[in-house]
Symmetry: C2
Subunit: 254 residues, 2 copies
């Protein structure tokens, strides 16, 4: 057992970091609620007693972290970090770690199955309406791979939402962001690809309506296996989610 230290540890974090930390603490522990204003840069300068440049560096950190944002008039306010934005960062990290489509597929299988199970158990009328609406729109664009791929991604987001489990929602998002953009290629290259996709969605929605978990899991598996078979016609599962592919997804998102 060490003796009581004479001095406390010296805090050597740079000032901009301390500014960011101080504001973060206020938001995390709820003293500043999402939507509430943080104050102007000048006010922060006065409160913290540092230069405006320093405050601004701190603000950038928090902004990137998704804890604060600027409203329409560019004033600072606290906000709820959007899963989507964070997921984008994570997807980027996955790219840089050169994960393979096999890893992506395996993880997505787990996460999507869990989503469906949750959705079958807990989907609300509202959730079902949203899914039905998506299905109707999908049926209309079954011959247009780009539009269909987008609706497919949305369908699975809605499914995760219907599970009422926000942790799951967040956990599946990064993988989904990388996984689903390939749908367009696959649907386009497999005969009847679009029709099979819509049919799978129809069965999934049906399973949720009937609260039939086994059917939900079964059709999710089939749906993803379809994706996999399609993908393997185009490329190897063991190829990494490449930079070129990222550029594609990237350009499309902008």
């Amino acid at each position: 057992m060490a003796s009581t230290p004479l001095f406390r540890r010296i805090d050597v974090a740079p000032a901009y970091q301390k500014v960011a930390d101080a504001i973060e603490r206020e938001i995390i522990n709820g003293r500043i609620k999402p939507g509430e204003p943080i104050g102007t840069e000048q006010q922060l300068v006065e409160q913290f007693g540092v230069n405006r440049s320093t405050v601004r560096e701190g603000i950038r950190v928090l902004e990137e972290g998704g804890l604060i944002r600027r409203d329409s008039s560019r004033r600072l306010q606290a906000c709820l970090p959007r899963y989507n934005k964070l997921a984008t960062r994570l997807s980027r990290a996955l790219i840089l770690h050169e994960v393979t489509f096999r890893e992506l597929f395996e993880a997505s299988m787990t996460l999507e199955v869990a989503s469906v199970e949750g959705a079958v158990e807990r989907a609300t009328e509202e959730n079902i309406r949203e899914l039905a609406d998506n299905l109707a729109r999908s049926a209309e664009v079954v011959e247009r791979p780009a539009a269909l791929a987008e609706l497919d991604a949305e369908f699975h987001v809605l499914m995760a939402k219907a599970s009422q489990n926000r942790v799951l929602q967040l956990a599946r998002e990064p993988a989904a962001q990388l996984f689903f953009p390939t749908t367009e290629m696959i649907v386009g290259s497999v005969p009847e690809g679009g029709a099979r996709l819509v049919e799978a969605h129809r069965h999934l929605l049906d399973a949720i309506r009937r609260r039939d978990k086994a059917a939900g899991v079964l059709w999710t598996r089939r749906h993803l296996q379809d994706w996999r078979r399609g993908f393997e016609k185009i490329a190897s599962l063991d190829r990494s989610v490449e930079h070129t592919y990222m550029e594609h997804a990237y350009a499309a998102r902008q």
Copy 2:
């Protein structure tokens, strides 16, 4: 179909954002590899033709995003975003969204089971050694909840690593960061809690060694059910992962 536009869209992003985007692009598409230097602030000032303050704001954005870091001498270099740094941000987001322990538990059950399945299939000798080492250390501190809780968290990280699936590794991390800190409280408040935990780990490692997937899944379920029963003695599963709890985890991490 719209006619060809006369003008291209005007880019109105602030300069610091453009600086960040430009550097990010170079890293994402691999022209700058992880570990390579970005250059000094002065060099960036010259290359981009903007002020150093502007460059520094851009740097903060990338730093927080985990794309660049400063090495021992504070020089800038590209880096692979660390999962657990990103996961920390996600955990924070989950807190702010006031997710419940029930959501956390359900999602973790899915993710940990998937980890074990992967580990049983693909764990290397090295992975098994690490797990065995962790287990040995756990057995030594079975009576000290704080130390044991830490090793428990590590055990599950190692398990995810053994699954050889980096997507899964990343997906489970945010939930785990919120989930496992409660272990300390639970182990301390349940008689034989520590012993049960170590026993579960022993069976898990054994299942991996024998490549027995069913046993791995079974003991993972038991292990987490144990957590759940313990947790319910202390608090309701439907309580949100509260700010107070976050403060606890937060203080411990500093």
